[in-house]
């Protein structure tokens, strides 16, 4: 019986992380062995394309299509001919506020990721791969390195893996710690030892990426999915989702719920099920005001959206994004203006400083929000903020997607919580401040 929740099938909080022996006992590395020995890169690509897998890093771009842009040099017999390095990079720089799904995968089942990387590297014929990991993920970093060492020892990595003639070197690279490194081209710049500035596209990394060579950057969860897609096939994979999208997804909920956490669930699970069933509903005394469905850079949704399925296009139509699928809850005792200000300040701080709307526009927005929150706002500030949303908020206005992402919670907060903004300005104070203090006091917190 193949698990319906493949990504976490080996994960058990009561056990140690899965080691190579255990992993192999559970069919580990069979897919990798089979692929490099029996499947052509084109076959693998076809399976991934057929599976309908969409990138789990937040943008939801179809993985198979992303890979198909990598130039493949083949000879008359269809064998791959190398004309230089190609790179596969695992984006493990998980820094989206409220997101902690990749950490779970890496800390609990590192071999699943490594096998996914072998399969992905084989598909695009990359000979060098990197795991670009968030600086703070010391444990994951250590466990991954141990797993990689074990693989090298058994010939699953390095030269001539599985005696197939295929070579793959895999390195763990700890980031110096910038949110912008989650942007794939900024990640590449950083990996090259340069300032972590995103790059203009085109050219895309598939053509000119790391050190000017064809490069694929995928999220940890995306790569973990590859392991199971190749192992069990596209048709099987398609049966996993219960909505429009295929497969499963690690969903998370944080905020004032009874049971915050991270769960693997079928794509298309409703938001209500996620919050009420898995997260246990709101804590006593708190009501749901809204939520960011996919991390800090997604638009707020509110109660009316609770029955929507967590699918890329469904959430997109509702005016937000599935993002990383890890939800942040806004309750009725937390100031939405304060929360938005906190988010915009985060993004202003994490701007790489390259393009004007982001570098200067975000601090400006944060300053206006700070004025409003502290009771110094004026009515014209709302126009200024709306203007900033238009000015910064569209992809193409800025060099990369960071600033438009930052504008998503702001734009939607101004839409759904307009009364709160007005109350701050009219009352020249944050209406939540005393209540918040009282609530904290009653909960026994100083």
């Amino acid at each position: 019986m193949i698990s319906k929740l493949p990504l976490t099938q080996n994960i058990n909080a009561a056990r140690d992380p899965v080691n190579l022996e255990t992993y192999e006992a559970n069919h580990g590395y069979q897919a990798a062995r089979k692929a490099v020995l029996e499947m052509s890169p084109a076959d693998c690509l076809q399976v991934v394309q057929d599976s309908g897998l969409r990138g789990r890093g937040g943008a939801g771009f179809p993985t198979g299509m992303k890979w198909s842009f990598v130039p493949m040099n083949t000879d008359a017999q269809g064998n791959h001919v190398s004309d230089g390095h190609k790179y596969l990079i695992c984006n493990a720089d998980e820094m989206e506020p409220g997101t902690f799904k990749d950490r779970l995968l890496m800390e609990c089942d590192p071999h699943q990721l490594i096998e996914g990387m072998i399969l992905s590297a084989w598909t695009i014929q990359a000979d060098v791969a990197y795991i670009f990991i968030r600086h703070e993920y010391h444990l994951a970093s250590k466990l991954l390195q141990e797993a990689i060492d074990a693989c090298y020892a058994k010939g699953y990595l390095g030269k001539n893996i599985f005696a197939s003639g295929f070579n793959l070197e895999l390195y763990v690279h700890s980031s110096a710690g910038r949110y912008i490194c989650g942007e794939e081209t900024a990640l590449i710049s950083s990996l090259e030892g340069k300032r972590a500035n995103p790059r203009a596209k085109p050219p895309f990394p598939q053509i000119s990426g790391l050190w000017g060579r064809p490069t694929i950057v995928n999220n940890v969860e995306t790569l973990c999915n590859i392991t199971h897609i190749i192992r069990n096939g596209a048709d099987w994979y398609k049966t996993l989702g219960i909505g429009q999208d295929h497969g499963t997804k690690l969903f998370g909920v944080s905020g004032r719920v009874k049971n915050p956490g991270c769960w693997e669930l079928p794509m298309g699970t409703t938001i209500r099920e996620l919050i009420e069933q898995h997260a246990g509903g709101m804590q006593d005394g708190y009501k749901l005001r809204g939520f960011l469905p996919g991390g800090a850079s997604t638009d707020f949704l509110v109660e009316e959206h609770l029955d929507l399925a967590m699918d890329y296009d469904v959430i997109g139509k509702a005016g937000s994004r599935l993002g990383t699928g890890t939800m942040i809850i806004l309750d009725d005792k937390t100031c939405p203006v304060g929360m938005t200000k906190n988010l915009v300040e985060f993004f202003a701080q994490e701007s790489c400083g390259f393009c004007t709307p982001c570098r200067d526009g975000l601090p400006w927005s944060a300053q206006v929000l700070d004025d409003i929150e502290s009771g110094n706002g004026i009515p014209a500030d709302l126009n200024t903020l709306q203007n900033q949303v238009r000015f910064i908020g569209a992809i193409g206005n800025t060099h990369c997607a960071l600033a438009p992402g930052a504008m998503e919670p702001l734009a939607s907060a101004m839409k759904y919580f307009a009364d709160d903004f007005k109350a701050h300005i009219d009352g020249k104070a944050c209406p939540y401040s005393t209540e918040s203090k009282a609530a904290l006091a009653s909960a026994g917190v100083n």
């Binding site: 910038r178 300032r195 790059r199 203009a200 085109p202 050219p203 053509i207 000119s208 050190w211 000017g212 202003a348 701080q349 994490e350 701007s351 790489c352 400083g353 390259f354 393009c355 004007t356 709307p357 570098r359 200067d360 526009g361 975000l362 601090p363 400006w364 300053q367 004025d371 014209a380 200024t384 203007n387 000015f391 569209a394 193409g396 206005n397 800025t398 060099h399």
Partner: protein, 933 residues
Amino acid sequence: MPTIYIDDKSYDVPEGDNVLEACLSAGIDLPYFCWHPEMGSIGACRQCALVQFRDADDEHGRVVMGCMTPVSEGARFSMNGMKASEFRKNIVESLMLNHPHDCPVCAEGGECHLQDMTVMVGHRNRRYRGKKNTHNNQYLGPLINHEMNRCISCYRCTRFYNDYAGGTDLSAQGAHDHVYFGRQQDGNLESEFAGNLVEVCPTGVFTDKPLVNDYTRKWDLQSAPSICTGCALGCNTSPGERYGKLKRIHNRFNNEVNGYFLCDRGRYGGAYVNDENRAKFAGLRADDGRYNAIESQLATDTLAGWCVNTDRIAAIGSPRASIETNYLLRRVVGGKNFNSGIGDHEASLVKQISSIMQIDSVNTPSLRQVESADAVLVLGEDVTNTAPRLALSLRQSVRNLAKKMASDMRIAHWQDEAVRVLAQDCLSPLYIISMAESRLDDVAKRSITMSATDIARFGFAIAAELDSSLDSIAGFEPAHTQLIKSIASDLSSANRPLIVSGTGCQDQAVIKAAAAINRALNNSNGMLSYCLNEANTLGASLMQDGSEASLKELCERASKGQIDTLLIAENDLFRRAPHQQIETLFNNINNLVVLDCIDTETLAQSALALPSSSFAESEGTLVSSEARAQRFYPVYQPAEQRQSSWRWLTQLGQSIGLESFEKFTEFDNVTASCADDFAVLAGIVEASLHGDYRYRGMKIARQTHRNSGRTAMRANISVHEPQQAIDNDTPLSYSMEGVNGKQSSALTPFVWAPGWNSNQSVHKFQAETGGALKGGTPGKRLFESSSASSAESDRDKIPVVEIPGPFEAQQGHWRLLPLYRIFGSDELSARSPAINELTAAAFVEISVDDAETLELLDGDGVLLSLPDTKVCFEVIINPSIANGCLGYSVGLPGAPWIAPRSSVTIKKNHAWSNTNRDNKPAKIVIEPGVSNV
């Protein structure tokens, strides 16, 4: 030519351009910051936004950056629509959040691109209520002032400094709205091209420090088209003056020569003209050895009296004086009594070079053509120190491989970051064979060092490798044999190979070896470039018919008592020959007459000293090392009795009744007469528009139309405004009246256009943005290679040479290698205070092994035994110097002239300490009524 639509109007635009370039070329004022015509696009500032529509029916469109969007047939854009113009307004408002309101005290004010763009987009009201960010400023050396608070983070500075010019000590630091552009710590900016930051920075972060310290707004500067005298490349400059002082030098765009950039020697090297010690009055030496100031007429009459007997006079010209000055001097004394003043050994080298350059098949490249080379060999020349701007061009040439790779991937050449990312460290081959390490080594495929003799030998071996009909040269170590093969292979497979050499080694064989390689390549696209020392070295050398006397001959004649009067124009002979030889020469002369604009040891020995005007106060023609004749114009009127050397000489000629001197009162007539007399110089009359050029009857204004205080400038002296000076020799006027902008762009005193007060306005003077100037490129190349002539048919014209044997170190003797320095080796610029601050003391460099043998450490002193003197130098241990050789600094203050290729004995000077240097150049002061030594 694709057609694009902007606000529903159609424009035919150049294929391959981006939309911003296309707009500017079409005369549309699309604001921008980070894009630079020479450095391409990165899309950082987002200022040049337009709205692009999918098709004619699309009503919404999306914001795109003009600089990042290629032109394509039928593309539709809105520039003036609400969405686009509001977006651009927002950008400026964002940039201004942290920008201080210090325009009134900012050196950029009045020529600030940020001011221009702010006005252009119409941003007026500030909505931001927060605090501004503030930064600490750094000390960046004597050339550049740093004021980080003004920064708008366009990244132009680091892109120029690091990406374009190869600097390493300026960087973007920090992140978000705290990005800081500076060094890791205070200190001199290391790049020789740092001064360009002044013009590259769109606001007042990097400003010209000497200007800041003695400030004048651009609109109050009086300017004229000029030519840099810092080296032989002939970069075009635009010096600005106020109150009789040269305030600053800006780049003057010349598509084929310097483009948008100058070196720091050129930008900061002109301030010597403000030296208080420059003579203002003619001085006649009294019996007690002091000078008495005399009237100009008396000076001319005295001189005329000394020149009556034309058999007993002689004259020495100068490679730093104009063609016209040299010509008139030669006319006064006749060819057989004339010496070019280049110095005998150097003159023979230059003669060799000029004869090679005149071979039909030899193509001497302009700097722009240098940038097109796809394989380069530098043979013996330390380009950064002898022809600095050429080093910047060579640095661009190595990027041709990157551009080709990009073109193969259909990435536009202006996609600057994408091209760099794609190519990473892939560079077109540049090989450097030199005497010591060079500042281009970081982009060289290989660079090796050896003695000058071995460089020549190495060069001939490359030629032999390329041309099997030549005798091969044996005796190289295996690694060198392999290198010779690689160089030959890269050069022969290149489309546009370039060989760079010059007089830097002071070695005939090196010059000939470079020519031999060029011939052996037998490639009609091949290029051969020689570096020369001074602004008119080539011009002075070309003005010869074989009758001229060598310096040595003149010395002999003087020693026989055959010369009564010796005229020297703008030349310090102590920089050309051994001290003793010149002392003796002067002792044998009754009447030594020296015209000069600087105070030199030679001037100090004169019986009659005539104050001539500098490049900034006179006109003249210079022939650059690519044989481009170019005209410089007076920026302002010379003070007191100073006048151009050519005027002094015209007056002299008229006084003694020389033929045709009566018409030499007009400058163009001097040029024309010289062109008539020397066929090789025939082109100099086309170097520039003539003095009678007018635009619709108008002269060209040297002053801006806003020259605010001109009527008040002298009010402290007299409230009567003096009449504006008349300039009969040039099409320029000493006035704010006249044309600026519509005349031929070759005659542009300063760049300005309505709404464009900064130097970014240069595109208004270009036929196409980034391309040639309207009305053509200034200057006239005297020789052009002829495609009809192949290298094969010119074979006989290439000098034959005996290939030198390998250099062998002699026990106890060291072979001298001349080492040049960008700051200090050039006589004129070294006198500018800012350059002087960067000038090292005279030094010698020795290999690690030899230093060990002599028990020398860095900073020790050594005594060099020269034929007539012993001199002490500071020692620098340099691992790149060949054993048995001793590099010595050429021309630095405190060092005597040293005979080329000589061998010396040296010993450690135990008495040496770093403090006993005397860097001070010779000084004389001549003031009316005051005498001085």
